[in-house]
């Protein structure tokens, strides 16, 4: 038995460490530990802030899924204050959300995940002519032809197409060769390039994917221009409680939004559709099909047992979350929990999630058994977000010192993440969860007439099942399935982007240019105390924000974040979280080079800054650090 540590896990957001016990004979992982190793305490910072500013503070949880927390926050505050946003604001926010999903998934696949599958070293053996042929084959075999029905056509042809000429691939190959031969490998330094997994794919796939890695590094920036138009910048675009700040006028030359500005948005949306259809999906399916063919249908873990979603994209402005309006108005009704999907559609069970669930103190709770926090009462009873407790209790590692770790303590506390639960059970969230929930609900006839987006999800699953020649129950809850579902989610979001852009244009055409509601802007119009919930299906999964407003100030602010669900430490009753289960469902060939482990972890697209947080305590004294930000912090050497 070998104890293997990977710290830091790179190509993610934030600080993550994993430790696994590997049986060297069989390659089986007998125990796995996932630890969020940093904590910033942002919920504590929220105390007493103006709720109208909460989006700006809480957006700084994460700059990778930038916009996600801002959106969760404005929704929570608007729910608390009873604000319904104007139609245009709803469409624009949906465009910003879909834009984030498209860009974030694309960057994840090419820049954060691809180097687990393909290697620049292998690409050196590729024949440029054969690679050009492969590019053509992949485009023919792996293009999924799905589009939002009735969407406007605003481009003469697809401007963003992969090059499929030998000269192009020769050039890329020469660049890779120059880097390798220079000895200065830069970002390609020190990886386990000699791992046998890199031999699973022919050299031409490696060269094609490396070429697209470079292309997408240049293109990704152009995908987020809708954030720059509507929110002024990216990362961290601006929002406003009550709608959006970007006033619309076709009569003013200086207006934030006019036709010229909308054209920039439309161009980015068209580009997103082309990039996902012509690059991302063909590449993903070429790589995924090879892995499945080689028998790699492992790494599913929790996905086979329990997944959770809140539902996505209010088609028209929702008049609140806690009153149930949000759930009645969704383009993708993935609100619910699906259990035992891995046992087949017949055995799978579905539980709806509605407005009562998200407020019920018994349904959603968080535990701290293995987290570096403590609760005051004995037995560390799980607590509902509404009355979470703030008390860090750092206990250090099992081996090593408080500031120099050798091994963390799987029997004690070992992570800055809490352990979130749905009815006392752990769940996986993310694009894979969304696809499993919609597929199961639709097949069981629970959705009635499908929305166009839900129908597209079913069609996507059907098409991929054909390519892989496997049933959805088999390929979806796997490491490959998790990565594939993200690509499908990207294609869906690119179409949803177009759908809401068309709605925005049609609404402006009808004469409605309202983009923000100011009726309840003044705190004197607010109740003395109120509570709100904001829900959002972020790129990494189900996100919920909870706010309590008292006397015009933020009294309590909390989030349950996708990566907290997935990366949480174990619970003595409920078992392991999704990262730990996925690692334990993955075979490791060479314990000293655990490429399979980092690959399955990255299939979740970890976002640790989002995950590590703690809840504000009611009435608990918060220590004020004496660090003086103006005269500087004194550091002992």
């Amino acid at each position: 038995m070998k104890h293997v540590v990977v710290d830091p896990i790179t190509r993610i957001e934030g600080h993550l460490r994993v430790e696994v016990q590997v049986d060297e004979g069989s390659g089986k992982v007998t125990d796995a530990l996932s630890s969020g190793t940093a904590w910033r305490g942002l919920e504590l910072v929220m105390k007493d802030r103006d709720p109208r500013d909460a989006w700006a503070y809480i957006q700084r949880i994460c700059g990778v899924c930038t916009t996600a927390h801002a959106l969760g926050s404005v929704r929570a505050v608007e729910d608390a204050l009873g604000i319904t946003i104007p139609k245009n604001a709803n469409y624009i926010r949906n465009i910003m959300a879909a834009t984030l999903t498209v860009q974030d998934h694309l960057v994840h696949f090419y820049h954060l995940h691809a180097l687990d599958w393909v290697s620049p070293v292998e690409a050196l053996a590729a024949d440029p002519i054969a690679t050009a042929n492969l590019q053509n084959t992949a485009l023919n075999a792996y293009k999924l032809p799905f589009r939002a029905p009735g969407a406007s056509v605003t481009e003469a042809f697809e401007h963003d197409f992969p090059a499929a000429t030998p000269q192009y691939f020769e050039q890329i190959k020469n660049k890779v060769k120059a880097i390798v031969e220079s000895g200065q490998l830069g970002i390609f330094s020190a990886n386990w390039w000699d791992h046998p997994d890199y031999k699973l794919l022919p050299p031409e796939v490696h060269l094609m994917a490396i070429a697209h890695y470079l292309e997408m590094l240049d293109k990704q920036r152009e995908l987020v221009t809708p954030h720059v138009i509507f929110g002024g910048k990216n990362p961290h675009p601006h929002y406003v409680v009550g709608g959006m700040p970007c006033a619309i006028s076709m009569d003013d030359g200086n207006a934030p939004i006019n036709t010229a500005r909308l054209d920039i948005v439309d161009r980015a949306i068209n580009m997103g559709r082309s990039l996902v259809n012509n690059y991302y999906l063909p590449d993903l399916l070429a790589v995924g099909a090879a892995y499945v063919k080689a028998g790699r249908v492992d790494g599913g873990g929790m996905a086979k047992e329990r997944v959770l979603g809140y539902g996505a994209y209010p088609i028209e402005p929702a008049a609140g979350t806690t009153n149930g309006a949000f759930f009645k108005n969704l383009l993708v009704r993935c609100n619910g929990v699906v259990e035992d999907f891995g046992k087949g559609l017949g055995a799978a069970k579905v539980y709806e999630i509605d407005a009562e669930d998200v407020q019920d103190p018994k349904v959603f709770t968080e535990g701290v058994e293995h987290s570096w926090y403590e609760y005051p009462e004995k037995g560390e009873q799980d607590r509902n977000p509404w009355d979470g407790i703030t008390a860090p209790k750092y206990t250090g590692p099992k081996e090593g010192s408080a500031t120099e770790w050798k091994a963390l303590n799987e029997n004690g506390k070992y992570s800055w993440l809490k352990t979130p639960k749905w009815r006392g059970k752990l769940c996986e969230v993310g694009p894979l969860a969304r696809y499993i929930i919609i597929y199961t609900k639709a097949k069981k006839g629970m959705l009635g007439d499908l929305t166009w987006a839900e129908q597209m999800m079913m069609d996507q699953i059907g098409a991929v099942s054909k390519v892989l020649n496997l049933a959805p129950e088999v390929w979806l809850p796997t490491m490959v399935g998790r990565t594939a579902a993200r690509a499908l989610d990207c294609q869906l979001a690119a179409e949803i982007n177009k759908f809401f852009f068309d709605k925005l244009v049609a609404n402006i055409k009808s004469g409605d240019t309202k983009v923000a509601s100011s009726e309840k802007w003044d705190p004197s119009t607010w109740p003395k105390e109120c509570k709100g919930v904001g829900l959002y299906e972020a790129p990494r999964g189900a996100l919920s924000h909870y706010i309590t407003i008292k006397d015009g100030k933020t009294d309590n602010y909390q989030c349950i974040v996708p990566t907290t669900w997935n990366a949480c430490p174990r619970d003595d009753k409920a078992g392991h979280g999704a990262y730990e289960m996925a690692m334990m469902d993955t075979a490791v060939k060479i314990p000293d080079k655990p490429l399979e482990i980092v690959k399955v972890i990255r299939s979740f697209d970890p976002c640790m800054a989002c995950a590590t947080h703690m809840f504000n305590a009611k009435g608990e004294k918060i220590n004020v650090i004496t660090t003086d930000p103006y005269s500087g912090t004194h550091v002992e050497k």
Binding site: V45, D218, A255, I264, W521
Partner: protein, 363 residues
């Protein structure tokens, strides 16, 4: 293998012409905010200086600065990372993980001692010996101190690395601060912003790479070329301020017409940054152009300066009634502008007073 290559070497290797090399240098010159008379110096620097080694480390952060960096339009991220610098260590983009990756960091520090550029994203966590920010089994501050002391220069990217940022906002639960006092004698360039503008980020690293020295800095360690102007002074909506034409609420007629956002809490008058001149995405927009007041994200402690919707001088109004700064009233406008200059001073005084009050209460 030890010899680092110059940009010109790379152009030669790629089979690119002298003409395209010089064109590249011209683009860089303008990118760095230098006059065209400086092109020859840039060409000279690009011919001779070796490809700079860059190490990028993360403290208490959100990776938004990394993300901004790869949004750069000129240079493009691919050109920058694969041809103009050797990015040997970066948690976001590097292929490697775990032990070999940490060993590579140490190798890089030893091999390029005193030569590499250290980029730091995120705040330094100081409370309880820094245990709230661990990476690779060490505290971040341990890695920071070691990597900074051996670097040629440190670039503190983002308001977190410059002055602690969001996690240092009250009550600063993890004792977070800027990173400068961990850098020993190594020069530190402060590049604030939440995040900084993409081309500002790449511009600073290119300046250090090409000229072998940090760019000219102001009194707060910020590159003058990017932080020399207040947003207010470079704002395309400034004429509306001078004419007394203001948006009074979101989505009103003034908002639609693109009038000044001063009354909605805009911090442009107190904020030094390039949003007004460079703007975001190569001139495409910046928050004010999109109808959102500036939140002053490049100011050291902007998170603790009161509600964003309130004007800063609410506490001690130095500007007077802006409604009186009417069209054509040049004299009144001049008073308003002068009062502006006073606003940041007043604000600082108020901040210091607050600090003292809070410190007293905490004891």
């Amino acid at each position: 293998m030890d010899k680092r290559e110059s940009m010109w070497d790379l152009y030669l290797k790629k089979g690119m012409s002298r003409r395209s090399f010089v064109k590249g240098c011209v683009a860089l010159t303008s990118l760095m905010g230098l006059g065209m008379d400086q092109v020859s110096r840039v060409v000279e620097a690009a011919e001779k200086k070796p490809l700079p080694v860059v190490v990028w480390i993360h403290g208490h952060e959100c990776t938004g600065c990394d993300e901004s960096f790869i949004r750069s339009g000129a240079p493009l991220a691919s050109d920058l990372v694969l041809s103009q610098i050797a990015l040997e260590y970066d948690h976001l983009l590097s292929a490697a993980s775990g032990e070999p990756f940490e060993a590579h960091l140490e190798e890089t520090i030893q091999k390029y001692k005193g030569q590499y550029i250290l980029c730091v994203e995120g705040a330094a966590c100081t409370k309880d010996n820094g245990v709230y920010c661990m990476s690779g089994g060490h505290t971040f501050t341990h890695t920071l101190r070691h990597a900074a002391e051996n670097a040629a220069a440190v670039i503190a990217y983002g308001t977190c690395a410059v002055s602690g940022g969001i996690q240092a906002a009250k009550p600063n639960p993890t004792g977070s601060s800027g990173i400068a006092h961990f850098a020993g004698k190594t020069p530190v360039v402060h590049v604030p912003g939440c995040p900084p503008i993409p081309e500002v980020m790449t511009g600073v690293v290119m300046h250090v790479a090409l000229f072998g020295t940090v760019p000219p800095l102001d009194g707060e360690g910020r590159p003058k070329q990017f932080y020399g102007n207040r947003i207010h002074d470079t704002c395309y909506r400034r004429p509306f301020f001078d004419a007394g034409m203001f948006a009074e609420s979101y989505d009103d007629a003034g908002s639609k017409a693109g009038w000044c956002l001063y009354k909605l809490g805009c911090r442009g008058p107190e904020t030094y940054n390039s949003c007004g001149n460079l703007r975001w995405f190569q001139g495409m927009s910046y928050p004010i152009q999109s109808g959102a007041p500036c939140i002053g994200c490049s100011n050291a402690h902007f998170w603790d300066e009161g509600a964003m919707s309130e004007r800063l001088p609410k506490f001690a109004p130095p500007i007077g009634d802006v409604d009186k700064i009417g069209a054509g009233l040049a004299a009144v406008t001049a008073v308003g502008v002068a009062a502006h200059a006073a606003a940041s001073v007043v604000q600082k005084k108020k901040r210091i007073a607050d600090e003292k009050k809070n410190e007293g209460a905490g004891e």
